[in-house]
């Protein structure tokens, strides 16, 4: 018993039992649900400006709840998260404030940022069809929709519909073609009895191992696998090139509604959008840079350029709930 009491006292004496007060030195606090590939760019920002960064990683939905609960007392200055749908929802919930910055507007193409300037895409992700290079002739591939063709019956691997990237893919389809047509697409995939797998990397490994022949994932997961094994037998196919273009998504950031260090937060975003920082992002995480002036990683560049779906990525948020319901109706798990 004495041990318990001692432990308790030790913890109370040593633990941070009261919330840290907001730092006056202009330090920028970042709530982030993106945990990989940004470290170099963050360090470069601190080296360049002398402004310290403090990071709290978390799960998207939970970070939103924390921001909401903290209200105007939040220590967070910047919210960084993956998926345009998440950013759209953060903006709708009033968690972000508009930023008027010529630099950000110039660096980031219009379809990768909020029309109302509350968030900005910082990296771009292409969600492509992936195929086993030993078993599939890419000439047979064309569009996302065509993966519902009976030829792919039993040969398709899909990430679960609970995954936000697939929700965003369906959401932008709804924006373009309406719910009825998109539901048909989802039903087509389901009719091919896809194997549902719980992660993009796992989908790629399943394709390589021959469990299925085609699937849909983001390209950077493939780039990371290729870095470990250059002979990994999977390649991307950029779909919908003669129609709407390949679906792209972003990871991005905005300044919080109650930021204490707003000026520095904006400087931080501007820096992250610069060609210099974008290059660092792109080289580590192997995503596409959002700023077209920055260069992609050599592996990524080797896949060539492609036609993007230029619909504003915000529509991913607008139709995300509809996409989730639609997947449920279509029996896409």
């Amino acid at each position: 018993m004495r041990l318990l009491v001692l432990l308790l006292i030790a913890a109370i004496a040593g633990g941070p039992l009261v919330p840290a007060t907001v730092n006056a030195s202009g330090e920028v606090v970042v709530y982030s649900s993106r945990h990989y590939g940004q470290e170099k760019a963050f360090e470069a920002f601190t080296n360049k400006t002398g402004i310290q960064l403090k990071l709290l990683n978390g799960d998207t939905g939970q970070l939103f709840e924390r921001l909401k609960a903290e209200g105007d007392k939040t220590p967070a200055d910047v919210l960084l998260t993956v998926d345009a749908g998440n950013l759209w929802n953060a903006a709708r919930a009033g968690l972000l404030s508009p930023v008027d910055s010529a630099e950000l507007k110039q660096n980031i193409p219009a379809h990768l940022r909020d029309p109302e300037h509350r968030w900005f895409g910082l990296t771009m992700r292409a969600r492509t069809i992936m195929y086993n290079t030993k078993k599939v002739n890419p000439a047979q591939l064309s569009t996302y929709e065509a993966l519902g063709d009976p030829r792919w019956k039993g040969r398709l691997c899909l990430r679960s519909s609970g995954n936000v990237y697939n929700q965003s893919l369906l959401a932008t389809m709804i924006k373009r073609h309406g719910e009825a047509k998109t539901e048909e697409v989802a039903r087509g995939w389901v009719a091919n009895q896809p194997t549902i797998i719980s992660g993009d990397t796992k989908v790629l490994e399943a394709i390589a191992a021959g469990q299925c022949d085609v699937g849909i994932t983001n390209t950077y997961y493939l780039a990371r696998l290729l870095a470990k094994d250059p002979n990994f037998p999977v390649a991307p196919f950029f779909p919908n090139q003669s129609t709407t273009g390949t679906h792209v998504n972003v990871s991005g950031a905005g300044v919080t509604a109650h930021a204490k260090n707003r000026a520095n937060a904006i400087r931080f975003l501007e820096f992250l959008s610069s060609a210099e920082a974008q290059q660092m992002f792109a080289q580590t995480s192997q995503e596409y840079p959002a700023n077209p002036k920055a260069e992609a990683h050599p592996t990524v560049k080797a896949w060539g350029s492609f036609k993007q779906d230029d619909i504003n990525v915000a529509s991913a948020g607008e139709f995300q709930a509809a996409a989730t319901r639609l997947a449920d109706r279509a029996g896409y798990k």
């Binding site: 318990l4 040593g14 990989y36 719980s198 490994e205």
Partner: protein, 513 residues
């Protein structure tokens, strides 16, 4: 009075969950009703039943084997069979998938030998999840059953044998029914863990209520509907607790007699001995050795590739201290509640303590949001207080079940004797009960500690800026599919969890007494 205040404090987040019904979310319910509600409720109930049955069979069998038979390896199995408790379910989930799925080493090797068509039969996701959960949750039943069997001692068995029963009959007709309350307590803990789990069901793509809560929350951004869904889990927990309590109440009468000498284990030879060793070895191998080996293998490739450059000591320390503090707090609260119920055993008190324990059946993420409201109101978000508060709400059941079971075994005549000698209530607790409760409290402390080490969602949401635990490190890596990077912190969680488990099982042979 103090106990009442504690119950109120612990109950606040649970009440917040129930209050979600004030806001309408009818559209989501209608949608769920049309598409999947029957399926997810069915899956959840089936999963709970499967894990309940699985842990009962595995835990009881193994406990009976080590208590009443002598076979090769028994001395090691006796304590080692508790070890899978240190492996978080989400870790064993990704390890099993990594090892056994189509692209994994086992099936790849099969294809290498037998040609490209060879593959393991595909298990339905529900069965796979139930098996994995059984492998990590059976120790609850095992530990409680082992203690119960030991406590019955020789006398019970001998009486049955002298009445002409065979050993097997005696087990079935006497020993097992008498151990029922302990078995029920262990299985109900395992079942509550099973329905609250998110990591494992997500890994296997199995749709349960928890998975649905997450989907509604992040896919439709409807936190209210998600919380309402979570309240269904509260109902489920209430039913389980009531059932378990009904079974346990009989215990006072059945086990208040003095313990006789311990039963002498029967030496097994030949096939039965090999069978007993194999059964223990198989469960321990799958639930503990396999994940440990796979994690170590991944960690080694990571070390070779130079992928770990983190402040590992700091992570270890903060996890250890945070979990230790939470363990102490949980014990203190559990002790206060159990003691209050002893002093004033009314229906109201009993219901209040039961309600306070139901956080165990809720997903950590839901508890965390329930805690967030009151904590934000007190301007304590992002403080250690918030995290510790959530731990107490989430894991109180673990401490309470254990301590209450211990306390119930101290005859009330002790209290009366103490009072008649003019000793006050507090002094009785200190001088009479606590010394007798030492093992129970220690066990509760350890279990709560290990549980807290593994906790993820509440830590993630409520922690102070800059505080990081091993579980968070694992999650950050696995959420980016960086399995190799995740293996070292995952391994550390398992190893750190082993220390207290090993110590208690070794130092206190009557664990969970």
């Amino acid at each position: 009075m103090a106990a009442g205040a504690i119950v109120a404090l612990v109950a606040v987040p649970l009440v917040v969950v129930l209050l979600s019904w004030r806001e309408p979310a009818g559209a989501v319910w209608a949608h769920l009703w049309r598409t999947q509600l029957a399926e997810i409720v069915g899956n959840t109930v089936l999963l709970a039943a499967g894990v309940g049955a699985g842990t009962l069979v595995v835990g009881t069998t193994l406990a009976w084997l080590v208590v009443s038979y002598q076979f090769p390896g028994r001395a090691i199995f006796e304590w080692a069979l508790a070890l899978p408790l240190a492996v978080p379910a989400y870790v064993i989930g990704f390890v099993f998938l990594g090892v056994f799925d189509y692209a994994g080493p086992v099936q790849s090797a099969l294809r290498g030998w037998l040609g490209p068509g060879a593959r393991l039969p595909e298990l339905p996701s529900g069965l796979a999840v139930a098996i994995v959960m059984t492998l990590v949750f059976y120790p609850y039943v095992y530990l409680l059953a082992r203690t119960a069997f030991r406590e019955q001692g020789l006398a019970t068995l001998e009486v049955a044998r002298s009445l002409g029963r065979s050993r097997a009959q005696a087990f079935r007709e006497v020993v097992l029914p008498m151990a029922r309350p302990s078995l029920a307590a262990g299985a109900s803990l395992a079942m509550m863990e099973a329905v609250a789990d998110f990591g494992t069901v997500a890994t296997f793509g199995h749709r349960t209520l928890t998975e649905s809560i997450y989907r509604v929350w992040t896919g439709m951004f409807d936190r209210v509907a998600a919380t309402q869904l979570a309240s269904l889990l509260l109902l489920f927990a209430l039913g389980l607790l009531a059932l378990e309590r009904a079974l346990r109440r009989r215990r006072r009468f059945t086990q208040s007699q003095r313990r006789g000498p311990a039963a002498v284990p029967v030496r097994l030879r030949g096939l039965p001995a090999a069978g007993a060793s194999a059964a223990c070895g198989l469960v321990l191998g799958l639930g503990f050795v396999l994940p440990l080996v796979q994690l170590t293998a991944w960690a080694l490739t990571g070390v070779r590739a130079g992928e770990f450059g983190r402040d590992f000591g700091h992570l270890l320390w903060s996890s250890f201290v945070l979990a230790g503090t939470a363990g102490a707090l949980i014990c203190a609260v559990a002790l206060a509640l159990a003691y209050a119920a002893r002093l004033r055993p009314s229906a109201g008190v009993r219901f209040a303590t039961q309600f306070a324990c139901m956080g165990y059946a809720l997903p950590g993420a839901v508890i965390a949001v329930g805690v967030l409201g009151p904590v934000a109101w007190l301007a304590l978000t992002g403080s250690a207080v918030a995290v510790l508060y959530a731990y107490v709400v989430r894991f109180l059941a673990v401490g309470h079940q254990t301590i209450e079971a211990s306390l119930a075994k101290i005859p009330t005549t002790f209290d009366e004797a103490s009072h008649s000698l003019g000793v006050g209530t507090t002094a009785t607790l200190r001088r009479v009960h606590l010394p007798l409760l030492r093992h129970g409290v220690l066990t509760a402390f350890i279990l709560a500690w290990v549980e807290t080490m593994k906790e993820l969602p509440a830590t993630l949401l409520l922690r102070p800026l800059g505080l990081k635990t091993l579980a968070i490190e694992v999650w950050e890596r696995t959420s980016e599919s960086l399995w190799v990077d995740a293996s070292l912190p995952a391994l550390a969680i398992v190893l750190v969890g082993l220390v207290p488990l090993y110590l208690t099982t070794r130092l206190s042979p009557g664990l969970l007494r």
